[in-house]
Amino acid sequence: MAKGFDRQKNILDFTLSSLLRRKWKNLALASVYTLVVFLLASVMFFSYAIKREASILLANAPEITVQRLLAGRHSPVPLAYLDRIKDIAGVQAIRGRLWGYYFDPVVGANYTLVVPESGAPENGTIRVGAGVARARSLLAGDMIEFKTAAGDILELEAREFFSADSELVSSDLVLLSADDFLAISGGAADMVTDIAVGVRNPRELATVAEKIAARLPDTRVILREEILRTYDAVFNWRGGLLVIILAGAMLAFIILAWEKASGLGPEERREIGILKAIGWETSDVLLMKFWEGMAVSLSSFFFGLLLAYIHVFTAGSGLFAPVLKGWSVLLPEFRLVPYIDAAQVAALFFLTVVPYSVATIIPAWRASIVDPDSVMR
């Protein structure tokens, strides 16, 4: 047991000296390796953390949302629909919501206008998200001009800004009163944008949804779980898209690894011949090559992972944010809460360390079966 341990230790010791002898070659290899791990891990960390953030925020979303469809498009829902849902067994709470989008030609961005359920701003005032405040360089008390549906200008005073904690969903948000919303959107007073429904027993969700759909055939009933699934799909799709782009980098890396790590030069072949001549077995040489590969790949893997962690969770994911965060001009600026999925890290490990090992082990084996008498000739 102790002998086996000492054998590993001795060979590892020699491996590390070997690595230092070819430090430039190994450094170049480790740098590219680290870069690949950094890019992949950044995408992974980012998309998972943002999905998790979105799910946490959506936890407060209504269990069921009812939208009215007209010619397949989302259209305002009459207030009368609320009464028709209210008496369905299992429905606990119901309210009509007013929200919509507004394009601000000054900054070329879309705002999300929302009338909050409670504590709505007074008429003539708004509360805005940090993205809007940044885009318009707003200070508390500044006025923003909105164009109403009738073509008039409506000036609203920005009273408050949201804190950065909720920037993922609030970046482009403008909270305003129902009157101001109706003036800007041109909606009717007896209409709402959609209906939020609360259900007493979560197991009855599907039944309640079915009943609403049956009672109001011109509506679309959306469950919170479906929204979560959509978020998942969107971020997975975006993350996947980036990973596909990065696959090119991966391929280039594998080629480089093959070239650099496996392309044993005559000097290395001669060395293997010497080692075998002085009493090393093929398995000892393979063990040395294994440790060599592990030293390069593990250190690069963990260093790349660490850099990705810093990039995503402390440096605002500068490299990928525009692709992964959203479609809005008002990109949220926020710090993601560190969240690492062990299974993802394991997957990344197998995507990087295993191809590297495969790329190096076969040529190393070929070199290690060299006849020891080759050094005599």
């Binding site: 077995e281 000892d284 005599m376």
Partner: protein, 227 residues
Amino acid sequence: MLIELRDVRKVFHQGKPNEFVAVQGVNLWIEACRATVIKGPSGSGKTTLLSLVGCMTRPTSGRIEILGREVSSLPERFLTGVRRETFGFIFQHFNLVKGITALENVMLPAYPSGENHAALKRRALDLLDHFAVAAKAQSKVEKLSGGEAQRVTIARALINDPFVIVADEPTAHLDTRLAQEFMETMARLKEQRKTILIASHDPIVCDSPIVDRVVLIRDGRVEGEAR
């Protein structure tokens, strides 16, 4: 009898257009604790014969026995074990591993044996000290002079405390003084009951008083003995 070769033949590139018979029908006995020189011109098969004796390569046909144990058909793993425990090699071009220190070079053959690193280091330093190169222990081998490199090579050959020292043209790259110094070292090792087997055609080696036996070889065959 320490080593016995019976009708040993070695063919390279067998069955190919460049087939070459390096050793043919050699019968040879190497006695323990004696110094034997294999003498012959370049290309006579000296090095191949040393490789066969030193378990570095297997014969195409024939039998090789070491201490009565047939080794020519052993699998590579066992053959390596026999090589590591029985032989210490001194190569013509030293064959030290560049980029690492003299000390690490001396320790290298013992790494796979699983000896404790600190104990192994002590033994290697003792050997370097014995051959008066302890001061160069931490020097990279490419910085060593020819004589120093030769002594490091001898120390490396002795690290596993082998029965047999196998040296291939050990004086080919040494001046007369260093060649004589090498033979003096071999004399001391012989006194320590090591078996010495040298391939050489250098008169300093062949005519040395420590040599007990000179086997003449030409065209891969043993032609006789000069001493």
